[in-house]
C-alpha cells in the first residue's frame, strides 16, 4: 500500500515541552486508523501534527511526493455559532483554498458542494442556519465540508462526542462507507469500542504509544 505520511521518531509538544515522544508510524492509502487514548493524552496534538498545524520538536514527518490534501472534521464544540452561516456556505469554504486568492466559486465548486450535500443526506437542511441544527446534522455538515475539499486523508476529532447511540452509529457508518469508497480515514476518539469495529489499525496513546492491527492492539490491551 502507498504510504501517504510517515512519522519517524517524532516528539510533539508546546513551548518546547514534549507531550508525546518517540512516535513512529505511517499512514497508508485506504487506511482507517483509529487514534485512541484518554482525555489529555495527546490525541489532538498528534492530529494537529498530521495536519501540519503543529511542527515536531524532534524527528521528521514526511509527506508523499507532492503535497497532501487534508479534510479536517474538528470537534463540533469548536465551531463558532455566532456566524450566521448555512451548511451550504460552510461546505463551500473548503473549496476556497483550491480556488486561491482573487477567484470566486464557480459552477464546478457549486456542483461539488451539491454532490457532498446529497452524499451526506443533508439536502433538506443545506440552507438552514448551522446553529439551529441537531448534533448529528452538524456533524454530517462538517464531514461534508471536509469532503468538498477532495481530501487525500480525512481526519476526524471525536466525531461522535455527545451523541446518542443511534446517531453515533449513523455517523460511524457514514465514516466507514467513505473508507470503503477508498478515502483514507484517521479518527481520534477516547472510546476504544467505537473504532474497534471499523478501524483497520489502532494507535493507542496511554503513557506509551502502541500502533498495530485493531485485533492485535485489542488483545494486548
Amino acid at each position: 500500500m502507498e504510504e501517504l505520511l510517515k512519522f519517524s521518531d517524532v516528539a510533539l509538544g508546546y513551548s518546547k515541552i514534549p507531550v508525546l515522544q518517540g512516535i513512529s508510524f505511517g499512514i497508508f492509502k485506504g487506511d482507517f486508523l483509529g487514534i485512541v487514548g484518554p482525555n489529555g493524552s495527546g490525541k489532538t496534538t498528534l492530529l494537529k501534527a498530521i495536519l501540519g498545524i503543529l511542527k515536531p520538536l524532534r524527528g521528521e514527518i514526511c509527506c508523499r511526493g507532492g503535497s497532501l490534501r487534508f479534510g479536517y472534521v474538528p470537534q463540533r464544540e469548536m465551531m463558532d455559532e455566532l456566524y450566521p452561516l448555512t451548511p451550504r456556505e460552510i461546505i463551500m469554504m473548503s473549496r476556497y483554498p483550491l480556488l486561491g486568492p482573487l477567484k470566486r466559486s464557480g459552477k464546478k465548486d457549486k456542483e461539488k458542494a451539491a454532490e457532498v450535500i446529497e452524499k451526506l443526506g443533508i439536502t433538506d437542511i443545506a440552507n438552514k442556519l448551522y446553529k439551529n441544527l441537531s448534533g448529528g446534522q452538524k456533524q454530517r455538515t462538517l464531514i461534508a465540508r471536509a469532503l468538498a475539499g477532495e481530501p487525500d486523508i480525512l481526519l476526524l476529532d471525536e466525531p461522535t462526542n455527545g451523541m446518542d447511540i443511534k446517531v453515533e452509529k449513523n455517523i460511524m457508518e457514514i465514516i466507514n462507507l467513505l473508507n470503503l469508497e477508498g478515502i483514507t480515514i484517521v479518527m481520534v476518539t477516547h472510546i476504544i469500542n467505537l473504532v474497534a469495529n471499523y478501524a483497520s489499525r489502532i494507535a493507542l496513546i496511554n503513557e506509551k504509544f502502541l500502533i498495530g492491527d485493531s485485533s492485535k492492539i485489542l488483545t494486548e490491551e
Binding site: Y72, L82, P84, S94, P97
Partner: protein, 259 residues
C-alpha cells in the same frame, strides 16, 4: 454640511462593514485599543506640531503589529494586554494634549471629533485610504471569512491564516486611523460596534448582516447630522445616541418576530 455628510457617510460605510467582522471575530476590545493607539498618534502629533494623520497611521500600525500576534504574552490572557494597551494609550494621549497649546479643546476634538469643520482635503485623505481598503476586502473577502471562521481548518488546507489576519488588522487600523481625526474615537468605535450588533441581531446571513449594518450606519449618520443642525446639538454625540436607539429597536424586533 455637505462635506460633513460625505465624510460621515464614508466613515459609516467602511466602519459598519468592518464592524460585522469585528463583532464576529470577537475583537471588539482590539478595535477600541486600535482607536486609542491612533488617538495617541494624533496627540503626539499635536504636541510636536506634526501631521496628525501621519502619526495616527504610525501608532495604529504599531497597534496592528501588537494585536495581530496570536501570543502577545503567553503567561497572561490576550485581553489583559489589550486592556492595558487601551488604558495606557488613552492616558498618554491625555498627558500629551494637557501640555499642548489648546489642551482641552484638542482633547474634546480627539474624543468626539468635529465632523462639521472638516475640509475637502480631509475628504480626499479619507478616499485615498478607503478605496484601497475596499478593493482589498472585495478581492479577499473569502480568505478573510474562512480564516476568521475556522482558522485551524483554513490552515490545514494550506491557507496562510496569520497573513490574512494581519492584512485584516492592517485594513482595520488604516480605517480607524483615517477616521479618528474626522469623527473622533467614540464615533469610530460606535460605528464599528453598534450597526453590526443591530444587523447580527436580526439577520440570518453574513451578506444580509453587512447590508443592514450599512443601512443602519448611514441612516443614523444622516439623521444625527441633520438633527444636530436643527436642534443645535453636538453631532457625534447625537449620532451615537441614535445608534444606541437602533440597537434597542433590534432587541424589540427580535422579541416580536424571532422564530
Amino acid at each position: 454640511m455637505k462635506t460633513a455628510l460625505t465624510a460621515g457617510s464614508l466613515v459609516a460605510l467602511f466602519c459598519s462593514y468592518l464592524g460585522v467582522f469585528v463583532v464576529l471575530r470577537r475583537i471588539i476590545f482590539v478595535s477600541i485599543a486600535l482607536a486609542s493607539f491612533s488617538s495617541l498618534g494624533v496627540a503626539v502629533a499635536v504636541f510636536f506640531g506634526k501631521n496628525p494623520l501621519f502619526f495616527s497611521f504610525i501608532f495604529a500600525f504599531i497597534g496592528v503589529y501588537i494585536f495581530s500576534r496570536q501570543n502577545i504574552e503567553k503567561r497572561l490572557p490576550r485581553e489583559s494586554v489589550i486592556g492595558l494597551s487601551y488604558a495606557l494609550a488613552s492616558a498618554l494621549a491625555i498627558l500629551f494634549l494637557a501640555k499642548s497649546a489648546h489642551g482641552e479643546a484638542d482633547m474634546l476634538n480627539l474624543i468626539f471629533g468635529n465632523i462639521l469643520s472638516i475640509s475637502n482635503k480631509n475628504i480626499f485623505e479619507l478616499i485615498a485610504v478607503l478605496i484601497p481598503v475596499g478593493i482589498i476586502h472585495v478581492m479577499f473577502y473569502k480568505e478573510f471569512l474562512f480564516s476568521a471562521y475556522d482558522s485551524e481548518m483554513a490552515e490545514a488546507l494550506g491557507m496562510k491564516v496569520s497573513f490574512w489576519n494581519f492584512l485584516f488588522y492592517l485594513t482595520l487600523g488604516a480605517v480607524v486611523a483615517v477616521s479618528i481625526h474626522i469623527t473622533g474615537v467614540l464615533l469610530v468605535f460606535t460605528f464599528l460596534l453598534v450597526p453590526a450588533m443591530f444587523a447580527l441581531n436580526i439577520a440570518n446571513s453574513i451578506k444580509l448582516s453587512i447590508g443592514i449594518s450599512f443601512i443602519v450606519a448611514e441612516a443614523v449618520t444622516w439623521l444625527g447630522l441633520i438633527f444636530s443642525f436643527v436642534w443645535d446639538l453636538p453631532s457625534s454625540s447625537l449620532i451615537i445616541a441614535f445608534c444606541g436607539g437602533t440597537f434597542l429597536f433590534s432587541i424589540l424586533y427580535r422579541k416580536a418576530f424571532a422564530k
